[in-house]
């Protein structure tokens, strides 16, 4: 088991290096010379220019620049934002809890509804419920979520006034210093009455929007995986043994059907991050996705570079974890490799 773990982890190291290489190259391809950006368009003396280039390390050979860059990254230096003058890493970790909180509840929504719905659809295969669910899930799967978000804001927030339009909490009524960065926890810690409800209220709509595509995917996957398992011999055996339907489905079928579903949940993390960019932009949710888009608008390339590197690292690490977990749930994989 330990060997498998080590081997799997080692496989991601080249990916990390390649990722660093790509962001390194990308930032050099971006239009606009960083020296010109700092000095302005007016001509300056060649000596000043050379000094600037030296300060930025741009007079070094490219391979040396890359090594320096990797060296900085390995020491946790992801650059400094041009706009806020803050370290990119610090900024990222200030904003990341917001994204994490949103993604967690989106996934909770998707799993909480998607898996039971998929199981019921499989058990009542061909029924009205099954057909309706598959229709809805196809729609959800095809949904442009940025439009879905606007539509829900239009109906639920604007017309019916059920939820707030944007943000994480009612900033006029509540203010407290972030402790964990997770608004739900911080609002409880703040001891201000109503703060928790306000935070929860703000979370509902964005979580539904971000959870829609995973929900559709999970419902479809659970249904087809469950159907496959239901026709297996061991399920028939369990039935023949005289076990209750509940036991047959809940214990014998569901546990096996969920194995591929767990992988799908893990694989959703990448698209969840992509979806977070859109959802956060629509709802003005102060997370890393919105920050990334704003960095582009402000031409804050160090932030963009660092942000993409960090988001991708999160995805790689989560995928690695899922892979390892999968090996634990399903021993067949572990020995197969």
């Amino acid at each position: 088991m330990f060997k498998f773990l080590l081997k799997r982890a080692a496989l991601t190291i080249p990916t990390f290096f390649a990722l660093m290489f790509v962001t390194f190259v990308a930032i050099r391809l971006v239009p606009g010379d960083p020296v010109e950006v700092r000095t302005g368009e007016r001509g300056i003396s060649p000596e000043r220019l050379a000094q600037f280039r030296h300060e930025l390390g741009l007079d070094q050979p490219v391979w040396k620049q890359f090594l320096d860059y990797v060296w900085q990254l390995l020491h946790g230096d992801f650059g400094t934002s041009i706009v806020t003058n803050e370290r990119v890493l610090t900024e990222f970790f200030q904003l990341f809890p917001a994204t994490l909180e949103l993604s967690f509840f989106a996934m909770l929504f998707a799993i909480g509804i998607g898996i039971p719905a998929g199981v019921i659809a499989a058990l009542k295969r061909g029924s009205i419920f099954d057909q309706t669910l598959m229709g809805i899930s196809l729609t959800g799967f095809s949904m442009p979520i940025f439009w879905w978000g606007l539509l829900l804001i239009m109906l639920v927030a604007e017309r019916w006034g059920l939820t707030p339009v944007s943000g994480r909490i009612d900033l006029i009524r509540f203010y407290f210093e972030p402790v964990t960065g997770f608004m739900l926890i911080d609002s409880l810690l703040s001891d201000q009455p109503g703060a928790f409800w306000s935070a929860l209220h703000h979370l509902v709509l964005p979580a539904i929007v971000l959870g829609t595509v995973p929900l559709a995917t999970l419902a479809r996957m659970t249904r087809s995986s469950m159907l496959e398992v239901l026709s297996e011999d061991y399920v028939r055996t369990a039935r023949a043994k005289g076990l209750s339907t509940f036991r047959v489905i809940g214990v014998h079928a569901l546990r096996n059907a969920l194995i591929p579903v767990v992988t799908i949940i893990g694989l959703q993390v990448g698209s969840l991050m992509a979806g977070a960019v859109l959802t956060e932009t629509i709802f003005s949710w102060p997370g890393v996705g919105k920050w990334l888009i704003e960095s582009i608008g402000r031409r804050d390339y160090p932030a963009l570079q660092g942000g993409i590197l960090l988001i991708s690292s999160v995805v790689i690490i989560v995928n690695l974890t899922v892979d390892i977990l999968y090996g634990t749930i399903n021993p067949r994989i572990r020995h197969g490799r």
């Binding site: 990916t15 990722l19 804001i153 992509a274 888009i293």
Partner: protein
């Protein structure tokens, strides 16, 4: 009665292999959703192709005195502008119809380029093996490790936002799936007897790749390519929505949505229509893709 009809219908097809196309159609048309999807898509394609004939106005022409008109059937509407006008007084119907051109073009362009490059790289990886294989697959792993939209954003911010760069960005994002698919199915075929036979018969490497092995890998590829079109349309619309895709005044559905964001409260139809257009197009392609999968790739058939 219904049983009788179906027997009559399938009777000519029973005398065994009635041509692959016929067998395919028989299987495809069994899926009602797929046929509906195909018809809707056909309609959208026709609208896109004949946009200059269908659209009453140019998509960029501004009727300043008629800005933000609601659709004709609602109060205050004007039948000259059937689906209303946007904030600049441009006719919504015309913009949506021309938008179909843009979105379908993006979807098709991404699909064609990424399938072509993907097939080439996948076959090379499968046939060459060794370091070439490892190198190609590592690069693909890298692309996959960055969330699709985030990678597309990075590429577009390097190249600059435009329609052409949207296509480049989304193509790169979609490349790995085709490479992986072709490589995996080609590897499965290489060891088979018919390939060895062709090799012994002196078939050259290129021909072995392209005309011996490739046709046997096509079924899953076609399915993936069909579904890839709809995903490409969604991804491009998302980029457009973020202001990183097609630039104004191009009537692209995603950027139309972005322009309309401030009118959520006052003029909801400006927001509703472009999104509906995206949704309908994507659903119909996905329905068709499901049908294709069932018809072409029995192994993947969803129960």
């Amino acid at each position: 009665m219904a049983a009788d009809i179906s027997v009559v219908d399938t009777a000519p097809a029973i005398p065994a292999p009635a041509g692959p196309l016929r067998a395919f159609w028989a299987s495809f048309s069994e899926n009602r959703g797929a046929v509906i999807g195909m018809l809707v898509l056909l309609l959208i394609v026709l609208l896109a192709v004949f946009a200059p004939l269908v659209a009453p106005y140019s998509p960029t022409e501004q009727f300043r005195e008629f800005s933000k008109l609601p659709p004709a059937w609602s109060e205050g509407g004007d039948w000259r502008y059937v689906l209303g006008t946007d904030a600049l007084g441009r006719d919504m119907l015309s913009r949506l119809v021309y938008g179909a051109r843009v979105s379908l073009f993006i979807g098709l362009a991404v699909m064609v380029v990424s399938v072509a490059v993907g097939v080439a790289l996948g076959l090379v990886a499968a046939f060459a093996g060794g370091i070439t294989d490892v190198a190609i697959m590592r690069v693909m792993d890298l692309i996959i490790s960055v969330p699709g939209l985030v990678l597309a954003i990075l590429i577009v911010s390097v190249l600059g936002p435009s329609l052409a760069n949207t296509i480049v960005a989304v193509t790169i994002v979609f490349l790995p799936r085709y490479v992986r698919l072709v490589r995996a199915s080609a590897m499965g075929e290489i060891g088979k007897d018919y390939v060895t036979a062709a090799r012994v018969a002196g078939v050259g490497r290129l021909r072995l790749m392209a005309s011996t092995v490739l046709p046997n890998c096509l079924a899953p590829l076609i399915v993936q390519a069909a579904l890839g079109v709809s995903e490409a349309i969604l991804e491009a619309a998302a980029l457009g929505f973020l202001g990183l895709g097609a630039q104004p005044p191009t009537p692209e559905w995603g950027s139309m949505l972005a322009d309309s964001r401030e009118f959520i409260r006052s003029n909801p139809w400006i927001v509703t229509l472009p999104g509906l257009a995206i949704l309908v197009t994507v659903i119909s392609i996905n329905l068709m893709g499901d049908g294709l999968r069932d018809a072409l790739d029995p192994k993947l058939k969803r129960s």
